[in-house]
Structures are given as structure tokens and as C-alpha cells.
Amino acid sequence: MVEQPEGPDRSAPESQGAALSGAVPMLKRLAERMCGNPADAMDLVQDTLERAAHGIPPEVRNVRAWLTTILQHLFIDYCRAKNRRPSHEPIDDKHEYVTQLEADGPEPEWTRITVADIRNATDELEPVYREVYLLRTFEHRSYEDIARKLGIPRVTVGTRLHRARNKLREVLVARFALEDKP
């Protein structure tokens, strides 16, 4: 039996404000990595907060997950607005980090998953993937740093991370009553 993490008490304006402001560091980290420059990242976070300021829908159980979804939608809009190339790209571009992508699988119900669940799930990973994943996700090490620490090529870090995440998703899918997505 998986316990549902308790969400914030959205009936109290104070808790709404706290929930939003508490999520800002996480949103900012995501936005900075994806936007590539701090100014656009902060605009993205700001736009996310502006959307959220209209009120947290009553059905939302996990404010962070909800905010992250808003951020992602706005980020795609941002990418679309900045699009500078035709959608049909030459396939012979240099791709240093080519990894084998599996077909789409089901997603776990992320809003129910806690950090402890993630840590527990990493026990299912092979050691070579687990150590890379832990260094990246919980210690925020760069690829370069991880490569140096483990004595592996930088590109291998990316490959192992990709495999670790896919395996982790499988584990979480198996552990949490998950919806199937085509």
C-alpha cells in the first residue's frame, strides 16, 4: 500500500504562497538548464508563477508537479517562439551523445512519488548506472566531473544516465499503480 503524500493545505493563502515560493529554486534550476541563459530562464519562471498566481486548482495534489507541467508547456511555447530552423532537420548533424531510445512506455504517477521512493528504486539499477545517476541527480555533478571521478569518457556518462533513467522509470512504473500511455 502506497501512502499518498500529503499536499499543502490550499485553503490557506499563506500555504499557497509558501508552496509557490518554495518551488522557485527547483523551477529556476530546470529553466536555466533548458533555456541556456539566465534571463530567459527567469522570464520562464516568472511566467509560470504568473499563471499559478491565478490560483491552484482544487484537484492539484502536488503543487510542484503542477508547476513543473506549467513550466514545461511554457518552455515549449518559448522554443516555438524562438524557432530558427525548419522542422525537417538534416539527420547527419553531429550527435556526440547518441543513445538508443526505446519506444514510449508508460509513465509512473509522478505526483505520488517521493524522494525516498526514487532512492529506493535506484537499488534496482546496476551499479555502473546507479553511481552515475546518484552523482548527477543528488549531488548535481556535471558530466565532466562525473567522468573525471569515475574515469570514464564524458559521453559514457550521458549514455549511462539515459539508461539509468529509463530503468528507473520501469521500476517506478512497476511499483506505483500507473496509467498506461501509448
Binding site: G17, M34, A41, T68, Y97, D104, W110
Partner: protein, 251 residues
């Protein structure tokens, strides 16, 4: 799936070089699969960061993009003539919605504020709005015009800078047309600390009336409840909260 899809994880980790990252950003809107996988990656990350994400609010770097851009733009125009003027004090609550006399164009004021704004980018984004000594509540504002404008008017695209001073606790709200909450400091990324002052920098995006309200009190002031009009929010405030109010008409 295209070759670009294989860059998703490395892009998500911020490890692609600038050109490759830009190419992936071009690709993303065209690829539903990457959007789905990216969503999963983001959700996984916030689940994994749940404990560490609860950082103290006053440890958040401001990185106020708009302020940084204003600073950059101002720095680029460093040779332009500037007419520096003091921040205008807001009249008391209920004053006219017309722009205050003398609050003319301050385009170029930020030329001299560029170092200040650049420094502000290193200040905490969220702060508690506390000060040691208190003092009367004061609200001030200025408009940075984005283009040629008639003196004393604000236009869409202009930047409003509001500053609140005084009281032990203070907040700053901005409403559009009296019912749409546009900004609520300190829980807003556009808010920053300037010494003991709270500063909001806001781009005016719509034509109509913006109302800036500063509230101060010895006790904590709750954020506005979602959905309420400004008048409803003010009516619900407890005794002992002081307010200053300023209307700004945007053409």
C-alpha cells in the same frame, strides 16, 4: 523519432553545447515524443529533489531577467543623455488615477541605475520584508518608457518600478482593472530587496488601469487570496495594516 531525439537527456542535463542545445530547442516543439519524455524527466527530477528543494527563501538568487535586461540595455546606452529624477512618492490612497504631475518620461534614468540593477541581480529574490526599525509606510514608483512617449503617460511595454519602504512587514500587490492580480510581492520573481526597501519591476502588458497597493504592518500580512478583487482583498484585511495605493493608466 529523429536523430535529434537522442539528445534529450543531455539537453535536459544542460550538457549540450550552445548550438546543439539551440537545435534541440528548435526540435522540441515539433516532437510530441520528446515533449512526453521531457515531461517525465522533469517530474522525476522534482520528485528526486523534493527534500533539497526546500531551500530557504532568502537563499534564492534574484536573477531578475527583466532587471538584468534593463541593466544591459542601459549599459549599452551609457552615452545617451539621461535625465535622472527621484522616485516619485505616491499620493495617499484614493488619489487620482491620472499620472502625477512631474512624473514625465524617465527614459534613460536607468542608465545611471545599471550598476545598481546589475548588483540587484545578486540579491535574494524573496525576502521577508522585515526591517529593524519600522517607520511609516511609503510607496514610490517610476516608469521606464520603452519608446518615445508623451510626457506623463504610460504605455504598453513600459516598465513600472515600485518601491515600498517602512513598517516591519510589508507587501506590494498590483492589480489590473481592480480584479486581476498581476503581481504580489514578496512571492514574485520580479520582486527584489534594495536595502530595507522592497522593489517590484513589472512590464505593463495591457492597456487599462493598474493599481499598485503597498501594505505595511507590525504583523505578517497574508498574500491575496486567489480570485478576489482588490477591494475584497482590502476589505478582508485585519486592523493594524496600513496601506498606500496608486493608480496608473496605461495607454
Amino acid at each position: 523519432m529523429t536523430a535529434r531525439c537522442t539528445d534529450l537527456d543531455v539537453f535536459f542535463d544542460g550538457e549540450l553545447d550552445a548550438d546543439q542545445a539551440a537545435a534541440f530547442r528548435d526540435h522540441l516543439p515539433t516532437c510530441e515524443r520528446c515533449q512526453r519524455v521531457l515531461h517525465g524527466r522533469m517530474q522525476e527530477e522534482i520528485a528526486a529533489q523534493a527534500d533539497t528543494a526546500a531551500e530557504p527563501a532568502d537563499a534564492i538568487p534574484i536573477a531578475n531577467a527583466r532587471a538584468a535586461r534593463a541593466a544591459a540595455a542601459s549599459a549599452a546606452a551609457i552615452n545617451a543623455p539621461a535625465t535622472s529624477a527621484p522616485v516619485a512618492a505616491a499620493p495617499p490612497a484614493g488619489s487620482s488615477s491620472k499620472p502625477a504631475p512631474g512624473r514625465g518620461s524617465r527614459r534613460g534614468v536607468l542608465v545611471y541605475l545599471a550598476p545598481v540593477l546589475a548588483a540587484a541581480a545578486a540579491l535574494p529574490l524573496f525576502f521577508l520584508g522585515k526591517r529593524d526599525d519600522g517607520g511609516p509606510l511609503e510607496l514610490a514608483f517610476e516608469i521606464e518608457h520603452s519608446g518615445p512617449t508623451a510626457r506623463g503617460t504610460a504605455h504598453v511595454g513600459d516598465i513600472l518600478r515600485s518601491k515600498v519602504h517602512g513598517e516591519r512587514h510589508r507587501v506590494l500587490w498590483v492589480y489590473f482593472e481592480g480584479h486581476e492580480l498581476v503581481a504580489a510581492c514578496p512571492n514574485d520573481a520580479r520582486c527584489s530587496a534594495d536595502g530595507n526597501d522592497m522593489v517590484l519591476q513589472l512590464t505593463l502588458k495591457q492597456r487599462g488601469q493598474y493599481t499598485v497597493v503597498a501594505l505595511g504592518s507590525d504583523d505578517a500580512i497574508p498574500p491575496p487570496a486567489p480570485g478576489g478583487t482588490l477591494d475584497e482583498q482590502l476589505a478582508a484585511l485585519s486592523a493594524g495594516i496600513h496601506s498606500k495605493r496608486q493608480n496608473i493608466e496605461v495607454d
